[in-house]
């Protein structure tokens, strides 16, 4: 799932300074699940913006809408009337949702209200961690299902760096586990440490040519 995080309020306020009627558009898929851009967050941001402007004595009218997936043109089309009514849009969807919206309503400024951060999963209620870097060349078969590309701070392919902290924690964050220690433990448990002893040649970092494109072979 795509994880995002709301932009700082100050930044959002600056984005809409010239406007008096703004639509806050949420997305009901990934960003809803990670508490960044679902209907609840739309309501909170809308309320905050109204409050901010009323404190500044510069009233603003905020419209609210949430579509199921903002990265689908057909679904975004459902709120076109509200978009038409607004002078600008703050999208709380991930980057692709923002762009879908921007592309469909070319005459409207569409601003991102969240920072899209990574592909990840919930570790517990309210905490999400990065799991996949969308490198286009999955390596997980060799690492006991732990991705060294994003879960190792340096994306190393041949084992831990020398910076590993006591107890197998990461050089950059004593709270985080060293991915290679996790890989070691997983493979050891499975009796497959040979996989870790293999040499892995430099990765093909161009497996996905940017901008990426996937064409389904089957109809």
């Amino acid at each position: 799932m795509i994880i995002a995080e709301r932009k700082p309020m100050e930044e959002i306020k600056q984005l809409i300074v010239p406007y008096r009627k703004v639509l806050v558009a949420g997305c009901g898929t990934c960003v809803a699940v990670c508490w960044a851009g679902g209907e609840k967050e739309v309501g909170i941001l809308a309320s905050q913006l109204r409050l901010a402007r009323s404190v500044e004595r510069n009233e603003i009218s905020i419209l609210e809408a949430t579509v199921e997936r903002q990265c689908e043109r057909e679904m975004v089309a459902e709120i076109k009337d509200k978009v038409a009514e607004a002078e600008a849009v703050i999208s709380l969807a991930c980057g692709s949702g923002v762009q879908t919206m921007a592309e469909m309503f070319e005459d409207k400024p569409v601003f991102p209200g969240v920072n899209t951060t990574f592909i990840g999963m919930p570790e517990r209620e309210g905490l999400w961690v990065e799991m996949c870097g969308a490198c286009g060349d999955c390596f997980l078969d060799r690492t006991g299902g732990v991705c060294p590309i994003v879960r190792c701070a340096k994306g190393l392919l041949n084992g831990p760096c020398g910076g590993t902290r006591k107890g197998g924690k990461c050089e950059i964050d004593p709270e985080k586990d060293c991915a290679w220690v996790l890989i070691y433990r997983r493979l050891e448990k499975q009796g497959r440490l040979d996989l870790m002893r293999n040499y892995y040649a430099p990765k093909n970092y161009r497996a996905v040519k940017r901008p990426g494109k996937v064409q389904a072979a089957k109809a």
């Binding site: 700082p8 309020m9 100050e10 609840k40 309320s47 905050q48 409050l51 901010a52 009323s54």
Partner: protein, 131 residues
């Protein structure tokens, strides 16, 4: 512009703060008239949007009142409410509203004095920082 109507919205848990407020009335413990109690089944029911909307609507302050620590009928309702109130302080500060205008209070149903103290305290705070 935001016209503050000077009211204090108090979300009161029906297991604790609500009966405490009743009890204050029965004992004739008077407190400012500007308090508007909204009864909720648990402080954990109070959502951020409820707090924000109360301010949008002109409230001078918002109180969330739940059971004492470790005595929530729903185990975590009061602690969640406390965290939520803390977060709402941040949300309010982000829009230049004094975070001190939202507060969480824990009290038991037999603590009418505590209810009155909380209301008085909040009234004082709002008066000090201007309506």
């Amino acid at each position: 512009m935001r016209i503050m109507n000077g009211h204090i919205v108090a979300f009161c848990c029906e297991h604790s703060a609500y009966p405490a407020a009743d009890s204050a009335g029965r004992l004739g413990l008077h407190y400012p008239e500007n308090v508007r109690v909204i009864r909720v089944p648990c402080a954990g029911r109070v959502d951020l949007i409820h707090i924000l909307k109360a301010f949008e609507n002109g409230a001078a302050a918002v109180l969330v009142m739940g059971c004492e620590d470790g005595a929530c009928h729903h185990i975590t309702g009061n602690t969640r409410a406390k965290e939520r109130v803390k977060y709402s302080e941040i949300l309010l500060k982000e829009v230049n509203i004094d975070g001190g205008r939202v507060r969480m209070f824990n009290l038991s149903p037999n603590a009418p004095h505590k209810f009155v103290r909380a209301v008085n305290e909040m009234t004082r705070i709002t008066k000090e920082s201007g309506r």
